[in-house]
Amino acid sequence: METILETKNLRVEYRPQGRGQPKKLAVRDLNLKVEAGEVFGFLGPNGAGKTTTMNVLLGFVNATSGAAYLFGVDVRQPIARQRIGYLPELTYYYKFLTAEELLRFYARIFGMSRAQADERIEELLKLVELDSARKRPIKTYSKGMQQRVGLAQALINDPDLLILDEPTSGLDPLGRMKVREIIQRLKNEGKTVFFSSHELGEVETVCDRVAIIHQGELKVEGRVDDLVETHQGNLEKIFLSIVGYEGRSAVAAASVTS
């Protein structure tokens, strides 16, 4: 199987914010492998280092040591990003553009022809249900609509790998369901999806495999079914025990009942 995304002993340190403060170690020696066609859930509490890892994958932040590859290409090379789509955690798009103009701009960056772009934009606006608002400036959009514009731009180049940073955070239940549906569809199309979350319910329903990190360290990695079996509990319990909240008692309780 083809490895789409890989990190090798990835380590990221942030420079100290103030004098006398220690360096912040955000990611420590992370090894991940995502295979083609997988939906991979990247889990961890707030501040675990999920966004940081993604920032390295996208070239925004340089790794202190270790390496990361997309499609086998070192992430420091822009060409590694030709076949990916990325949805940032919190983003505002160019407010003075309309959704259509925004997508056309990104299409140009991928060197798409006018006809190609038109067709793709049509498709995407339908997919994310922004067809009716396409000619309005983005600054007039609600949060949910902005998130959907974000999804549309991430899909503009029909990417083989999608990197989504907390795609459902801040959305209402309906919005979440729509995002989940889109992820499911992409999976059916054979795409690889790498997404971070701390919403465990949704992860369980869509993911093939998950990794849980805490304080920059990889704690658990594996197929969802396998994890549930070996740890004898649902993902939420495993997650909480790793984070150290309600710790062993929950896992212990689970083992006693069985």
């Binding site: 920032n55 996208l58 822009p78 990916i84 789509g85 990325y86 940032p88 160019y94 140009r108 991928f110």
Partner: protein
């Protein structure tokens, strides 16, 4: 190149969807119109005061547009996080800088064409219009703006706040315009080590004052020959290239998460 042009197009679109340019244009038109109506000693054909007021306003407006527009480009991309989806595309940071530079320069060029058309009309109402000299004046000013934009772009990456960057740019550009040409004479009257320092500054700064042909345009003088204009253009190109390179060197390794 498509990528650079796409980014440049975005800058231009932004400028024409914001109010700054129109405010400055209206201001220039209103003040010039007021001056046009002014009457001194019953003479109503006075043209040089009119031209000098109009050109002065054009210079101020062009500098404001160039510096303010450029200074906010990268900081705005970072603050609204639009730079993340952009850089997640196969776009290098150098392309972002080039696109921003080109966009600002072209946007200023378009604004300048509008301003000079107005100036030409105003002049033609009262005297014979020397079109070639006007074009030379326009060209030299536009070339100078390229250096100013290069400076502001570098500043926008070095300094944190766009407002402080703008202020610094205005002071530097103003200082060079007023004093740059005289630093050689100043140095001659100094003792060491002041002398060497001032000479070093004198030879290092871009001599923006050459491109200021207001006095000649107002007083109906012939401007420098085209050959000298071409040399001045080459001189500016060297500075622009150096500034862009320096900007890239700083920006290249910059950690981008806020």
């Amino acid at each position: 190149m498509t990528t650079i042009l796409a980014i440049a197009g975005l800058v231009i679109k932004e400028l024409y969807r914001r109010k700054d340019f129109y405010v400055l244009l209206v201001m220039t038109v209103v003040i010039t119109a007021v001056s046009w109506l002014m009457n001194f000693f019953g003479e109503n054909n006075i043209v040089r005061l009119l031209k000098s007021i109009c050109l002065m306003l054009i210079w101020i407006s062009a500098l404001v547009i160039a510096v303010v527009t450029t200074a906010r480009q990268i900081p705005a991309e970072r603050e609204s996080r639009t730079i993340f989806p952009l850089l997640a595309k196969p776009v290098t940071r150098r392309q972002v800088l080039m696109g921003k530079f080109l966009g600002c320069w072209l946007a200023c060029g378009i604004a300048l064409v509008v301003f000079y058309l107005f100036f030409g009309i105003v002049t033609a109402t009262r005297e014979h219009l020397a079109v070639t000299e006007l074009i030379k004046g326009f060209w030299l000013q536009w070339v100078m703006l390229a250096i100013v934009i290069g400076l502001a772009l570098l500043g926008s990456i070095v300094f944190a706040a766009p407002s402080s960057n703008s202020t610094i740019c205005f002071v530097v550009v103003g200082g060079i315009l007023f004093l740059g040409g005289h630093l050689g004479q100043v140095a001659m009257h100094l003792t060491e080590p002041g002398r060497t320092i001032v000479y070093a500054v004198y030879f290092l700064i871009p001599h923006l004052e050459w491109y200021n042909q207001r006095e000649a345009l107002v007083n109906d003088r012939a401007l420098a020959a085209w050959s000298y204009c071409a040399l001045a253009t080459a001189y500016a190109a060297v500075y622009v290239a150096a500034l862009l390179q320096a900007t890239w060197l700083v920006f290249r390794r910059k950690t981008l998460n806020v």
